[in-house]
């Protein structure tokens, strides 16, 4: 099993780098071409979420992205934010999306989760095993 680890300062400019690396490793691992757009979007959403949380809590710690290809392509995106995160927050209904009272942050978070849940069949959002933070784990099949 090959593993690629990337850790980056929680700045929006680095999310693109994480997407590019994530897709490059996915291609190398043998993820089907037609899934690569989804891989790119999902890794971007998971990293965007992590960066937003680090900024919200004033954390300078890096965001960790770990990609491994042992039989499938697994990506872990780890943040260090002190929140109880879960997968419960999924798609907002359309009438709420355009509701005036919904803040931009809440909208973006809801839409981000909807995209993760919609594009990643094998998705887990859970507390990290050690210390504080959340791990978003996404798995895609490899091969034909």
């Amino acid at each position: 099993m090959a593993t690629v680890k990337l850790s980056f300062s929680p700045a929006p400019v680095h999310v693109r780098t994480a997407r590019l690396v994530g897709v490059a490793v996915a291609r190398r691992a043998g993820v089907r071409e037609d899934l690569l757009d989804e891989v790119r979007l999902a890794i971007g959403e998971a990293c965007t979420r992590a960066v937003a949380l680090h900024r919200q809590y004033g954390l300078a710690d890096p965001v960790l992205v770990e990609m491994s290809d042992g039989g499938s392509y697994a990506v872990r995106v780890v943040d260090r934010a002190p929140i109880e995160a879960g997968i419960g927050l999924t798609a907002l209904p359309p009438d709420e999306l355009a509701n005036e009272s919904l803040t931009d942050e809440a909208l973006t978070t809801g839409v981000g989760f909807a995209l993760l849940a919609g594009f990643v069949e094998d998705l887990q959002v859970r507390p990290v095993d050690e210390g504080i933070g959340t791990e978003v784990r996404m798995v895609w099949p490899v091969g034909h």
Partner: protein
């Protein structure tokens, strides 16, 4: 590819052509441009996503923000998009039920009762 933004006027409509990647890093620039246009008096805005090759939740949030702002100002807002990967994003988030989505700029303009024929 970096974000590109270009504006043109078609009758009563302001068309903003967006290209490249709209993500957490570039979306603030899109938000600023849309605010400039709306604050400058644009009331019927069409955003052409034809040359966008990446769009994430932050970009979608900016588009919803512009839609709300224009609606409350009595204006209209529509998107032009005919790429399946982007359309899938709108479907998955249910935003296809929030935005008027059209395959071409002409279709977006002629479908807008507020500005059609202007």
């Amino acid at each position: 590819m970096e974000l590109s933004l270009a504006t043109r006027t078609v009758g009563e409509h302001t068309v903003l052509e967006v290209g490249g990647e709209v993500d957490v890093y570039t979306a603030p620039r899109l938000r600023e441009r849309l605010l400039e246009l709306i604050d400058g008096g644009a009331r019927h805005v069409v955003v052409d996503l034809g040359r966008v090759d990446f769009l994430d939740s932050t970009g979608l949030g900016v588009l919803v923000g512009a839609l709300k702002r224009l609606r409350s100002a009595g204006g209209s807002f529509a998107l032009v998009c005919d790429k399946e990967p982007l359309l899938k994003i709108f479907r998955i988030t249910a935003l296809d039920q929030v935005f008027p989505l059209h395959p071409t700029v002409d279709a977006a303009i002629s479908a807008d009762p507020a500005g059609a024929g202007a």
